[in-house]
């Protein structure tokens, strides 16, 4: 998917003043909102420890819980399908749609469906898939992909949205009135809900014990997608399973607090079966498509497995100084930001996406706010190691793809210098005398694009302490 390098895409994003302004403003707001609902640091820490424990407990029994989930869903009348790859998942969804001779699908927000590139796939089979989440609706009209995992159109401001509606929706006058823009989307989508043969949604948590699909949202479009059309298809990554209903309250509090700074979302949907006899609404059929796409491979590594704890709240994006400046599209893959930097290289391989792991200052802001305490900086370091590793075993595709003699030699030289004090002192002394005359090329040139040349001290600290009589030991 990504045809040019990350660095080039990032450069372009950085040059877009409007984009940077939009992100800086929106992310700043998210940070404040999260802070307001998680105002007590001790309580927040207790909650995060609990969230981490729940997800780790679920992952420790993942195969067993997935079987339990399938059995419970089947008992409830939900049909469960397994897909090892996005291609298989797409095929399953298409078969369900075709078995109902449907041509129109309404979609609630789902990152897994983005992972599948489902809309494009369905379009090639003559099926219209309409995004009904307002943000997704906006970017679909504009032919774009999400720039954030929970607020997909966050890179657009009011005026840009007004233009899209005016140009892409028939008979729509230009307006920047927010209420009017909402009304336009609502009018357009309302009809789509009634016309659709299929409603498709994601899943936030799937409860193994009861076969319950939990889905949170704020616009009601999720509830429409899962209740109005005669058939509901839910798609989820296999890491979304949790053990029991009691696990949901803390996870929901962590998810919504971290994502949007809400105590609870406007809609919390718990779907346990198709429409039962005597019930007035709900679909006649519910299908659950469970996607692997590399997750069971990641699962095999005890450290990297922590990636699968993610609840997709997006707060690591909001707090990331890199994401805040370049936005989601620059990453070039479905999942941007810190979580994308650890997930994408593991799924797509280090040759294609390993570059992302180096696009971090390892500041630790993501780990500090992650509601399930994923140690993102440590996992970034681990993936950097994998990129250069010469060891044969391992589960990350593209291991060792960055190995090159020049860089290895440089680091060996660095290690030699830092383990041989006399040579080190000589080199430092030399730099102290002549370092300021180094040509501004290579790494120094890259440094000096934004900074003046670092000034070496005439005498190193080693020399100064010697001269001032500070004892060696």
């Amino acid at each position: 998917m990504a045809t040019e390098s990350f660095e080039k895409r990032a450069d372009r994003a950085l040059a877009d003043a409007q984009l940077r302004k939009n992100f800086a403003f929106a992310m700043g707001n998210f940070i404040l909102k999260r802070k307001a609902v998680f105002s007590d640091p001790e309580e927040t820490e207790r909650l995060r420890v609990l969230g981490n424990a729940i997800k780790q407990r679920a992952l420790s029994r993942l195969p067993e819980l997935l079987e339990q989930l399938e059995a419970a869903c089947t008992r409830n009348g939900i049909r469960v399908h397994w897909a090892e790859t996005p291609a298989v998942a797409n095929r399953i969804v298409l078969e369900i749609i075709e078995s109902h001779a449907a041509t129109r699908v309404v979609k609630g927000k789902s990152m897994v469906s983005e992972e599948m590139h489902l809309n494009a796939f369905l379009a090639t089979h003559g099926i219209e898939a309409v995004e009904t989440d307002l943000g997704e609706f906006i970017i679909q009209l504009d032919g774009e992909t999400p720039s954030h995992i929970i607020v997909p159109a966050i890179h657009k401001n009011k005026a840009q949205i007004a233009t899209i509606f005016h140009e892409k929706l028939p008979d729509t006058p230009y307006t920047e009135e927010v209420a009017e823009l909402n009304a336009i989307a609502r009018r357009t989508l309302r009809r789509k809900f009634y016309e659709a043969g299929i409603g498709l949604s994601g899943v936030n948590f799937a409860v193994a014990g009861t076969g319950t699909l939990c889905l949170v949202e704020n616009e009601g479009n999720g509830r429409m997608c899962t209740t109005v059309p005669p058939v509901h298809i839910a798609v989820m990554g296999l890491e979304k399973v949790v053990e029991k209903l009691e696990d949901l309250p803390p996870l929901l509090r962590l998810l919504t607090g971290s994502a949007t700074g809400q105590l609870v979302t406007t809609y919390v949907n718990l779907i346990t079966s198709p429409r039962r006899e005597g019930e007035k609404d709900g679909p006649n059929e519910v299908h659950l498509v469970i996607l692997d796409n590399g997750r069971s491979r990641i699962y095999q590594d005890p450290q990297l497995r922590q990636t699968l704890q993610c609840v997709r709240c997006g707060t690591c994006l909001n707090h990331c100084p890199v994401y805040t400046r370049i936005g989601g599209h620059a990453y070039g893959f479905v999942y941007p930001g810190p979580i994308g930097k650890i997930l994408t290289p593991q799924v797509e391989g280090l040759e294609k996406a390993g570059e992302l792991t180096f696009a971090s200052s390892l500041c630790g802001a993501c780990e500090e706010v992650c509601p399930v305490k994923i140690p993102i900086p440590s996992l970034l370091r681990r993936l950097r190691d994998e990129s250069y590793s010469g060891k044969p075993q391992g589960i990350v595709p593209g291991r060792g793809c960055r190995r090159n003699p020049a860089e290895r030699l440089a680091w060996r030289g660095w290690a030699f210098l830092n383990t041989h004090p006399r040579v080190n002192r000589m080199v430092t002394a030399l730099l102290g005398m002549a370092g300021d005359y180094l040509p501004p090329t290579g790494p120094l040139g890259r440094w000096m694009r934004y900074r003046t040349e670092p000034q070496f001290a005439g005498k190193s600290l080693h020399r100064r302490v010697g001269e001032e009589g500070i004892a060696d030991e």
Partner: protein, 250 residues
Amino acid sequence: MTPVLSKPSSVYFFGTCLIDAFYPDAGLAAIRLIEREGVRVLFPSGQSCCGQPAYNSGFPDEARAVARRQIRVFREDIPIVVPSGSCAGMMKHHYPALFAGEKDLPQAQAFAGRVFEWSEFMVRVLDVRYEDRGGPLRVTWHSSCHALREMQVIEHSKRLLRQLKNVELVELTKEHECCGFGGTFSIKQPAISGAMVNDKVDDIQRTGADRVIAGDCGCLLNITGAGEQRGMPFLGQHLAEFIWERVHGD
């Protein structure tokens, strides 16, 4: 505040590679301020770097070789004081992970347990009190990421700053946001790093402060270099060097 351990008669000082090459005055000031409290400072001349550059770049074997050297050089069971949150974080929190599965893991763990960030040591162990002899001055403070999130010592650093009666501390709008240094990050992703440091410089300029004080010389090298490039008038200084200057009335 109750001290975490009673005042030792002597401590080790780990100067860090950046201070060694670029900021020896900061290192010397940190040493003198410890000595001023009646504690003997030992500076093993065989010391070099904590190993973090290689550790963060995908070269753990090289990082381990350098780390192992430090563990051998700082052999006595006395505190190791480090004038950098980043290097201290590496030694205290990452050495145990770096040596996992190695035969010298116990030595690495014991070493890690003796590491103190400089301001943390001055406050929690020595409980220092400073008299400000300098004239009125407005400064701002940058919290370095690893001092904040790994060592969690920012409150100690600021406690020292607040003891200086003639110093007005104006806080940054985004004090806790990374300055964009990140070691090799600044040369691997120059444009993103450049955008980050320029925002930091803007934030500093908005405070109207004459100086930015920090506890990490990596951040200072980055921030002052970018400020200088843009012709900004502020000065960057390590906390220890700043305090040394203030208690001597310069």
